[in-house]
Amino acid sequence: MPFKRFVEIGRVALVNYGKDYGRLVVIVDVVDQNRALIDAPDMVRCQINFKRLSLTDIKIDIKRVPKKTTLIKAMEDADVKNKWENSSWGKKLIVQKRRASLNDFDRFKVMLARIKRGGAIRQELAKLKKAAA
């Protein structure tokens, strides 16, 4: 089972602990065995422990520690945002965020929709059972 996602310059990662929890960042340099320098379009470049990062499949083409504008351009060229939002991981996070922001009325509507969907499924199943019998 070889590793597929490596820590390298240009690797896009998700911060999974701390103040910037949930932010997509790019590894722009490696400080030492434990720490990397990360950067993102809307934050100040800083160092972070690898343990606080979850590597993603996305990689962009940059040189070591690029300027902010260069980084932003490289991210747009690689279409990081769309690639992330269309990946199953990214889609999952979007759904989680949406579910967390539902208000009481929304949750009620979701409940009605689930009941309706369940009813439709059971109807179809009954039809199929009847046809198979």
């Binding site: 967390a100 922001s101 539902l102 208000n103 009481d104 009325f105 009620f108 509507k109 009605l112």
Partner: protein, 222 residues
């Protein structure tokens, strides 16, 4: 600098003439034509007879508090038309519509009655959740409903004869006065129209709120 500020022990900063001018006694004298107004001694003090009893200790008489309570602050999340969830009482869990805050600080809410059985009622702000759902209440007029509307009727204690006393208790059913039923209908008419305009809102208000497995109220957005 106040004239009583000291330069040193026993030495005042302002001179006698300066202090006299500052105190303005000259202005009072001038106002009363060159002389100080003399207070007229009332004879009321002398007229009181010497009291028979002097208490042993000098105890200060208790003064009633002159503190006035502030008007109850309405939470910023509650505006006319907000759907509230009642947390306690007979209608626990019911989702109701907020109408206005009364002078006593209590909130005036209605079910509407036809939808969930909650009449025009007062409710304490502490016992509700405010949701972010709003109903259009522009057509509703609650100006005439105040705290007095909810005052209990004072029952007149009828004189019971001996026979009546030993009779079994008659069921005195308190019937709602007709004007209250009509007020309810009037308030709810415009509300129900606004509610039916929003899909699912009627069913939402008819259902009770409850926590299910996995629900974390501190994490939920209301």
């Amino acid at each position: 600098m106040a004239p009583t500020s000291k330069l040193s022990q026993g030495i005042k900063k302002a001179s006698r003439s300066h202090t006299y001018h500052r105190r303005g006694l000259w202005a009072i004298k001038a106002k009363h034509g060159g002389a100080f107004p003399k207070a007229v001694k009332t004879d009321a003090v002398a007229a009181v007879a010497a009291p028979k009893f002097y208490p042993a200790d000098d105890v200060k008489p208790r003064q009633p508090s002159t503190r006035k309570p502030n008007a109850t602050k309405l939470r910023s999340s509650i505006t006319p038309g907000t759907v509230l969830i009642l947390l306690a009482g007979r209608f626990m869990g019911k989702r109701v519509v907020f109408l206005k805050q009364l002078k006593s600080g209590l909130l005036l809410v209605t079910g509407p009655f036809m939808i969930n059985g909650v009449p025009i009622r007062r409710v304490n702000q502490a016992y509700i959740f405010a949701t972010s759902t709003n109903v259009d209440v522009s057509g509703v007029n609650v100006d005439k409903i105040e705290d007095k509307y909810f005052a209990r009727d004072k029952k007149k204690k009828a004189e019971k004869t001996e026979d009546e006393l030993f009779e079994t208790e008659k069921q005195t059913t308190k019937d709602l006065p007709q004007f209250k039923k009509e007020d309810q209908k009037a308030v709810d008419a415009a509300l129900i129209k606004a509610i039916e305009a929003v899909p699912d809102l009627k069913a939402y208000l008819g259902a009770r709120f409850s926590l299910r497995d996995g629900d974390k109220p501190h994490d939920m957005v209301f």
